[in-house]
Amino acid sequence: MSFVIRQIAKRADGGDIIRTRTLSAPEISVGRGTDCDIQLADLGVMLRHAKLTQLAGGLVAVEATGGVPLEIDGKFVNRADLRVADRPGINLASHRLTLEPGDAAGDVAITAERVIAASDAADATAETEIFSLKGALPTKRVMAWTLGLAVLLLGLVLPVVTMLGRGTVDLPADMVAEAARPIPVVARSALQRALGVAPATARTAMQPDIVWTSGPMSGAHAGITNSCGACHQAAFVSTTDSACTACHKQSAVPDHAAAERMARGRFVPTGLGAVEAGIHKAVGLEQGRCAGCHKEHEGPGGALMVAQSFCTDCHTGLDARLTDARIANVESWETHPQFKATLVAAASDSAPRFERVSLDARPKEASGLIYPHALHLSKSNSVANMVQKQGLPAQNGALGCNYCHVADSDGERFKPIEMGANCGACHDLAFARDGGVVRTLPHGKPAQVAGIVRDFYLSQALAPRAGVQRLAFERRAPGRMAEVEAQQLRLSGISDARSRAEAAVDQIFSKDGVCADCHQVQRTGAANLAERWRVMPVTLADHYLPKGRFPHRQHDIYDGKTGDAACVGCHKGVPTSKLATDVLLPPVAQCRDCHGSSNVKTNVAATCDTCHGYHSGTDGATTVVAGRAGGSTTQPGRKL
């Protein structure tokens, strides 16, 4: 009945030192204390940790004596009877006691060994880890590979795969439809501002190649920010015009001029500019591409942020390169040439002739109409009286400008002037009263007028009716008609009727007649009454400065004035003009009163595109028929 104790200690070189003792006692103590039978130098072990007692039948009673339970087969117990034949193990802190039958019958062999190595934080091999960052961070090599591969994947591989795998690009249908429409004039003048504040929200799904974007898109294109492939269609090929015109149809953005003329007129850079141009040309970035002017990825205003120099580069000294140019050179707003108005040179019913003439030449216009502005804008004459009686729109007692000049829907220009709408209220063509019906002569049809008058007299001679009166053409206030000619028209016979009819027609067309108020009338001397008089044609220009735009509505208030005062603020000659041949357009100096150079601090900035469009067709709004500066052009004119 002995305990055979084998204590195993580790040598420095890793080998074991085994010390064996035999204790002939039925009970032994285990602990850290020096008085224990099995002393374990382990601070986790109590001074007196446990007591082992041999029992009969190959059992050993184990009892915790230090107040700390013992760990036996994974369970913590305060006492247990162990069968030695089962070779049970007892864990005490870092040590383990293994019980087994001894060599002699009845002996119990106990092996005590440290199973958890003593903490030895300062291992010599740990020096590098402790003193260098190797112990706290991944190595630089690992970090470099990780970061490098992450950047490669997200910055290059994924975008390239996306680009190569892309089929067609779906764009929002409404945006495509919008792009195909010509930009309305009224929108165009406010376009840049509008686009500048448009919120930049993408409307298509984000794709990995978005990381290649070089900056925010313009307001107009913000919706397709994520659709790189819409514009960047082929690798290593700069955005082509065809990518632009896929949505922006040619009809919506017409060319500035014929390609051949553009090529000739384009300025030739010198010095470093020539080098740059040469490089551009060598790499396929030809001048005149859409993207040459419309730079994207430059922020909300980007695509329309066109520098003034883009215009003046070519328009400075243009006449030297494009010798047949019919427009003057423009170097800057300060030296902008005097306006050349498109004036009617010869009125015609079918083919009126127009000329562009500088306002400096104090030109006259040959519209064919007789219309003294001064007479119609008087506050005290018969016109003013008529305006008052008829209740026509008046300003300070005179006929308002806007009675005849009615703003069009854009508020940019004015509706065409029509005899019926704008003149007819006073210039009445009623010639007879037939019972309850007032008979009116048709405007613009002299032969019809002669026929109607002749038939009127003949019918009255053949079958006289009561209540038929001939009316005079003097302009008068309504209600005074009867007083002027209240007599019943009575004719003595056919020949009387014929001569009365001829006299009436001659009276209508003659110098004192109703037509000659506004028209030049020619007597042809023809025997046929219907061909005896000819009214000379009238052509009214409907766009004096077609190469620019002037949104009149934005100028409703001018120099603190409103209404007609604002109109004549610029059209200064109007109140005193006695002839329709007067050209009453303001000169360019008038604009400069408010619109200073973009470089000079004035009330309103003026860049080229304040007034001019680039995509206005190959020759502004007019069509060239005969080319030379100041030459003749035709435009769809109107006759009155």
Binding site: R32, G33, A41, L43, G44, M46, L47, G66, V68, A118, S119, D120, A121, A122, A124, A126, E127, I130, F131, S132, L133, A136, K140, M143, A144, W145, T146, L147, G148, A150, V151, L152, G155, L156, P159, V160, M163, I210, V211, W212, T213, S214, G215, P216, C228, H232, A235, F236, V237, S238, T239, E276, K295, E298, G302, M305, V306, A307, S309, F310
Partner: protein, 299 residues
Amino acid sequence: MATRAPRTMSGKAVRRAPRDITHEGFLTHGGMRWAKVAGGLSVLATLAYALTDQAPRPNGGTALGYLLGTVGLLLIVWLSTIGLRKRIITSRPYSLKAWTSAHVYLGLSLIVIGTLHAGFQLGWNVHTLAWVLMMVVIVSGIYGVVVYARLPAQLSANRGEATQPQMLEAIRTLDRQLDTAAQPVGKGEADLVRLSLEECEVSGGLWQRLTARHPRCGNARARDAIQALVNEQMRRGPPDPALTQISFLLERKDAALAQARRHIRLKTQLEIWLYLHVPMTIALLVALTAHILSVFIYW
């Protein structure tokens, strides 16, 4: 610059080539030659940027933008070769000191060149990523220059004559002494000593290395608790000699730990920037490749 000694073996003593006696660091190398070059480059780039009409606005796509971009690219590629250069032991064509001087100053000029190349336009894209990585590399480099100039003196002062293994050995010896000294004491006291032995890290994580602060240090906790016990016993009579010995050992270990941890803090501060500088440089080179390829792919 040292002139080369004649290699003739005439029997007379060969005269040593005269060397600079006084130390000249890389920052002041060659009369700040590279500082002047880099400064001139930056001024030139700034003037060109200010005086050139870049329509519609400055960015990498204008003529000047391409020029600055090319210069920047060449600089970055050259700057990144210092890792190769420093592994080649040679004095030609430039000494490593001259190379380092140029590396530092030309690297600084990249702040100007890179930013002007970008035209101050930054966004969420691979181009700005390259700029940000470049700036991280430069700023970490500036930090590196500063700590290289200041910390070695502190490092030297802190370690005294002790080497790193000696610092560790001191702690290890104290641990062994503590283990022995604690064998006779009861469980409560022994557990306190185990705090010092088992829950006391010399280095710790990155933050602890950078600050040298270990608020939960087992040794400090053990020291305070044992000291309190000793004080308690002293009020009643002579304290347990074992405890007094443990207290003394814990104090000594505390001092040894403090020295080692200060050493670690200084070394960490000296090393940490390279953990940004080098991997970020590699990432920058990749981002730069993506940047250049992408602008030409999506031209």
